[in-house]
């Protein structure tokens, strides 16, 4: 392409970037819907009167704090990782007995989980056979998260902060069960 032709060719790189950013943002929303639906599937396995899946989901997914500016692409990666986290948290709590699960114990239990791609993978392995609709997604999300350590760390930080607020710092009666 000579200089004249170059001048005649419109630069579409900005438009291309916008198209891609909008598409990736929509896929982030799709990821959130997918994980929310899988977490909700597990709700039937919990004791009535305490909405652990809802809590796990709200703790780990959603907005990052305002100080963290993520691009649309990063936000989508974050939605995938935090959706996997919510699912893994939920599976973790499935092992607790009805008597043991109050808001306090649930929050404390979640807050102490050594979370990371390895935890996602372990949760996926444990779920195999028992929860075939969630296990494969969890294991594949673990593979994806393994390459995104910074976002995983951010996700853990945000989830822990939200759990602390839910469990203690904002005046929620700790032994009060959440209603469905």
């Amino acid at each position: 392409m000579n200089r004249f032709e170059k001048l005649q060719t419109p630069d579409t790189s900005r438009e291309r970037e916008t198209i891609m950013e909008n598409a990736v943002e929509d896929r982030g929303n799709l990821a959130a819907r997918i994980f929310k639906s899988r977490v909700a599937d597990l709700a039937g396995n919990f004791i009535p009167g305490i909405d652990i899946p809802k809590m796990a989901f709200e703790a780990s997914i959603g907005k990052t704090s305002s100080s963290e500016r993520l691009s649309k692409r990063q936000r989508t990666a974050y939605a995938i990782i935090s959706g996997g986290t919510a699912l893994a948290y939920t599976l973790q709590l499935l092992g607790m007995t009805a008597e043991a699960v109050t808001l306090r114990t649930a929050v404390a239990g979640l807050a102490q989980v050594e979370f990371g791609p390895e935890f996602l993978r372990e949760a996926g392995e444990k779920a195999r056979g028992k929860f075939p609709r969630v296990a494969p997604i969890l294991e594949k999300t673990a593979n994806y998260a393994a390459e995104k350590r910074e976002l995983v760390a951010l996700c853990i930080k945000n989830a822990q902060e939200k759990l602390r607020r839910m469990g203690n710092l904002e005046g929620i009666p700790l032994d009060e069960k959440l209603s469905l």
């Binding site: 291309r16 198209i19 598409a23 997918i34 594949k140």
Partner: protein
């Protein structure tokens, strides 16, 4: 109705040529068979829409 994986693979191959993120699209490719038909449909529709818009720019 289950969506055709080949359809997804073709869309992704074309999008990668436009510079899309191989890691993210690879993730979607890996979980595609684990998705519900409605979720597969939403994903295919998103990718097809993106590709159509990018091709119009050419």
């Amino acid at each position: 109705m289950t969506y055709d994986k080949q359809n997804l693979d073709e869309l992704i191959e074309k999008l990668l040529k436009f510079g899309e993120d191989a890691e993210e699209l690879g993730y979607w490719q890996s979980i595609f068979d684990d998705l519900e038909p409605g979720e597969q449909e939403a994903l295919i529709s998103n990718l097809r829409d993106e590709l159509e818009k990018l091709e119009k720019l050419k």
